[in-house]
Symmetry: C3
Subunit: 138 residues, 3 copies
């Protein structure tokens, strides 16, 4: 059995947004006891990640590190039509996740205590982002 | 319900190959309306990624960046039996994706407009690569 | 159809542990012919990866590279309450995988010859880790 919904989020520019509750609601609405939920962004310049949900410094530090691995405006980039964050955003997307899959048991996501689900905007300007949530199970 | 097929691809050496159409055909053949398609490479020196499908410079720039993060012939490598691209290829594989999962709705993949599915060869020599495609849904 | 189990592993500190056999047993117990197995760690400072299963130097080299991309005790980190490996572990988790999905065909995982499934501890101290295994298929 499968049930699907599409979520839309506004992002104010680069940074993470906790979408755990929105995904949890889709899981609850699907009313399945055991299975998985699949979360997918329909974009190549933002991404998804599961990381520590308590200290916002973790997400700030992750952003700092990604900025080193895929620097804005790197002179090696050939793809820079939309500005210095254009190619960097595609690279940040590839190094993190376009989709996540989380187990469902007892009708809810089996996340660990410290795990949160984040939509990670890599562009520096505000965007509208579409996320497809598919629940599979029984 | 699930349906599985195995695709084979030749790669001419390092670089990306768009396999979106081949995966779309497997989805179409499976004739499921809602669910997910799972794509898996049976190798540890190539990988899969979803990225921008319009400008080939994006994939070239991604390759440039991966070459920095996992350089060929790095003096720190102990595993180098098959040449300078051997260990680099395993590392590139780990930093990207061995498998992808894409939602299916209305009988087709719900990719965003700019998303393409790429098989990413990391070895510098030609290879034959096997990709297992599994469609789950109803 | 779906079947779920929870595995627990002790880790002696930073490094990889081959959990392929434990996942294969969960797949065998689920007695499904075709589908996928989803493996998920309920933690944000360890991860999962599929990589070469023959030469232990590959995993050592991967650890060396991750140590460069997300150095212990980096002066840029603001999150360091649990020591120099705290933030580095979260970053290593984000750059690798919190979950893996592997196809099942003929009742067993369709891994390539050289693919092994590894639990990758990023903390330098011993930990107890929970892994949720969900088999989906028929």
């Amino acid at each position: 059995m499968s049930r699907q919904s599409i979520l839309e989020f506004s992002t104010p520019g680069r940074g993470t947004r906790n979408i755990t509750d929105a995904v949890a609601k889709a899981v609850s609405d699907a009313a399945m006891q055991t299975g998985v939920v699949h979360v997918f962004v329909q974009h190549t310049s933002c991404s998804l990640t599961i990381t520590e949900n308590a200290d916002p410094d973790v997400r700030r530090d992750l952003d700092t590190l990604l900025g080193r691995l895929a620097p804005d405006g790197d002179p090696a980039y050939r793809h820079d039509l939309e500005g210095p964050d254009d190619m960097a955003s595609h690279a940040r997307s590839v190094l993190t996740d376009t989709s996540l899959t989380i187990p469902i048991g007892g009708g809810r996501m089996l996340l660990g205590t410290w795990q949160g689900i984040y939509l990670w905007e890599h562009r520096t300007s505000p965007q509208r982002r579409r996320v497809v949530v598919t629940v599979l199970g029984a």
